[in-house]
């Protein structure tokens, strides 16, 4: 336990922010945790189950709630951090409610926004009734009801990978990393909940980079009969029966393919959050060409900001899964403590 108590601000109460706040508080530091939503938890609040093992998201939520249940942490919700400025040895921090505070160090953990699927106009999200996002499918899992807009039980569902990722048309050349495995996880869940429903994943590459991801992919084929078609869906439309019609090339057959579906799920990717972008612009924090925060060194200084005393944690720096986000947050805490003790 550190002997000198310092005050650290954590901007963002999602997975990274909660873990960082918890770890700092555990070491005896005073933490102010700022969350823009009414409740902490970030995107995890919406998720039903997690890849690769489909454990309930609630288990991780509970862990994180316990993590910030510490009297050293002061949580403020419904308010966001708008600007961070170096002032002598301290950091001067401005909040969206007009108040300001001073801290010895700060960790930015403003996270990501899900890609706005309306920007991929060819898929008709927000126009055709049964085009939904991966997040909305989680809502359905939470509600225990997977149905079309008019309440029918779907007999065929398609999942489109890389929506808003790897696509210069929406100015995102980066891979969001987690969508492939999310698609596989959701495909398996659909097959388990609706055994008569056929499921198709439309992918360009299967990026099963994490432990047990490839195994899940294999299980999805071997046990759950999930279908995979290699090709980026070109467009979706609705027919007279209000079923969706998609066009895609089956690149492994080298021929165009057409298929009717009851539901199309868009695996929306990660973008730097709007709140984080605002903060970065106001504070002149560098952003990379992918618009996430640029770190001090992408190999060995991946938690460092360019301002002394300012550290980064989680998906404000790049897309990552929960495991990596928690590790990244802990690493940010290590860097913060080193800074505070050697300053």
């Amino acid at each position: 336990m550190s002997t000198v108590t310092k005050h650290v601000l954590v901007a963002g109460g999602g997975v990274a922010g909660m873990e960082a706040a918890g770890a700092l508080a555990e070491l005896g530091h005073r933490v102010t945790l700022i969350e823009k939503d009414q409740k902490p938890g970030g995107h995890l609040k919406q998720w039903h189950a997690l890849f690769p093992d489909r454990r309930p998201a609630d288990e991780v939520r509970k862990y994180l709630s316990r993590r910030i249940d510490n009297r050293n942490i002061k949580l403020f919700t419904g308010v966001s951090v708008e600007k961070v400025k170096k002032q002598g040895h301290d950091l001067h921090i401005e909040l969206s409610d007009g108040s300001a505070l001073t801290a010895d160090a700060a960790i930015i953990a403003t996270g990501f926004d899900l890609f706005d699927a309306r920007r991929k106009e060819e898929y008709g999200y927000g126009i055709y009734d049964n085009v939904i996002t991966s997040a909305e499918l989680e809502d359905m899992f939470n509600a225990g009801r997977i149905t079309t807009a008019d309440g029918r039980k779907p007999s065929r569902i398609g999942l489109v990978h890389c929506v808003g990722s790897r696509d210069e048309k929406v100015n995102n050349n980066h891979c969001s990393k987690v969508c492939c495995v999310t698609a596989v996880k959701q495909a398996v869940e659909i097959r388990q909940k609706l055994p008569s429903c056929e499921v198709f994943c439309f992918y360009m590459d299967m990026r099963m980079y994490g432990p047990y991801y490839e195994e899940l992919y294999r299980e999805s084929q071997e046990v759950h009969n999930v279908n995979y078609i290699r090709g980026k869906v070109s467009e979706a439309s609705a027919n007279i029966n209000n079923r969706l019609v998609i066009k895609v090339e089956d690149t492994l057959a080298g021929r165009p393919l057409r298929m009717e579906l009851d539901m199309l799920v868009l695996m929306v990717g990660m973008e730097m959050s709007q709140a984080g972008t605002r903060l970065a612009e106001a504070s002149a924090l560098g952003m990379g060409i992918n618009r996430f925060l640029e770190t001090g060194d992408h190999h060995y200084g991946n938690n460092l900001g360019h301002v002394k005393g300012l550290f980064y944690a989680g998906t404000c720096t790049a897309p990552m899964n929960i495991t990596d986000t928690i590790s990244h947050a802990r690493a940010a805490v290590t860097e913060t403590v080193r800074y505070l003790t050697t300053r």
Partner: protein, 249 residues
């Protein structure tokens, strides 16, 4: 042999049309040609980006590049900002400049397009005008067109035009304007392309033992190129040939 990829890069449309393809197939998924020909724009772009001279030469000599209909639907959606349609246009231009187009059935058709559309432009100032579309050669135009064409002068007059008039629809383009057009074609390489098509076609006609004339459309070779159909344009033969070829290398 001259590096064909370098030649292609000199075409601004090629530079614009080809970045790096990741073979997602979004182009082929909505390509009208992919449905009715053995055609896969994704594959064409992937072959070109190998920068392999032999592969590009095969494309220039083959049927594949002539299947595209240039609707440019591929441009709208490519996540890498490529335009396979523009790549095709650059390949077609080079194929004609090098005379390779006569090696394929679909490529040989360029002669007919030059003789009809190409010459309409310089002779009349139109790609196409009512008096060019003879219902006998265009039965698909149907009875409405046959009637319009038969009574062309009357039909046009009722709609506010004048056949061989000086203004309005399908007016006669004056000779000084046509001289300007010809001059533009001379200065910009249009005339050279026309000549390249003529020279290679005449050579091919001789090789095939078909009658060829320096003018018009009423002779064996012309009729041959507009009607010939070997029935193989939807089969996988091209693919097979390429696979064997690549395997040998």
């Amino acid at each position: 042999m001259e590096d064909l990829y370098t030649r292609l890069m000199q075409d601004v449309r090629f530079e614009e049309g080809l970045n790096a393809c990741m073979n997602c197939g979004i182009c082929t998924g909505i390509c009208p040609a992919a449905e009715y020909y053995h055609y896969d724009p994704r594959n064409v772009v992937d072959l070109v980006q190998t920068r392999n001279n032999d592969i590009i030469k095969e494309l220039l000599r083959g049927e594949t590049i002539w299947y595209c209909g240039q609707c440019m639907s591929c441009k709208t959606r490519c996540p890498r900002g490529n335009t396979p349609g523009l790549v095709i246009m650059a390949l077609r231009k080079l194929s004609q400049e090098l005379g390779y187009f006569t090696e394929s059935e679909k490529g040989r058709q360029q002669f007919a397009i030059k003789r009809v559309i190409g010459e309409n432009i310089l002779r009349d100032g139109y790609c196409i005008a009512s008096y060019h579309v003879d219902p006998k050669a265009h039965p698909e135009q149907g009875p409405a067109w046959e009637h319009y064409y038969t009574y062309l002068e009357d039909s046009l007059a009722r709609l506010g035009g004048e056949l061989n008039g000086t203004e309005g629809p399908t007016r006669r383009i004056s000779s000084d304007v046509l001289e300007e057009l010809k001059s533009i074609f001379k200065v910009t390489g249009g005339q050279d392309l026309y000549e390249a098509i003529e020279v290679a076609s005449e050579k091919k006609a001789e090789e095939m033992g078909l009658e060829f004339r320096k003018e018009g459309t009423d002779f064996e070779y012309f009729r041959h190129v507009v009607t010939a159909d070997n029935g193989n344009h939807q089969t996988e033969e091209e693919d097979v040939r390429r696979e064997i070829y690549e395997a040998r290398r």
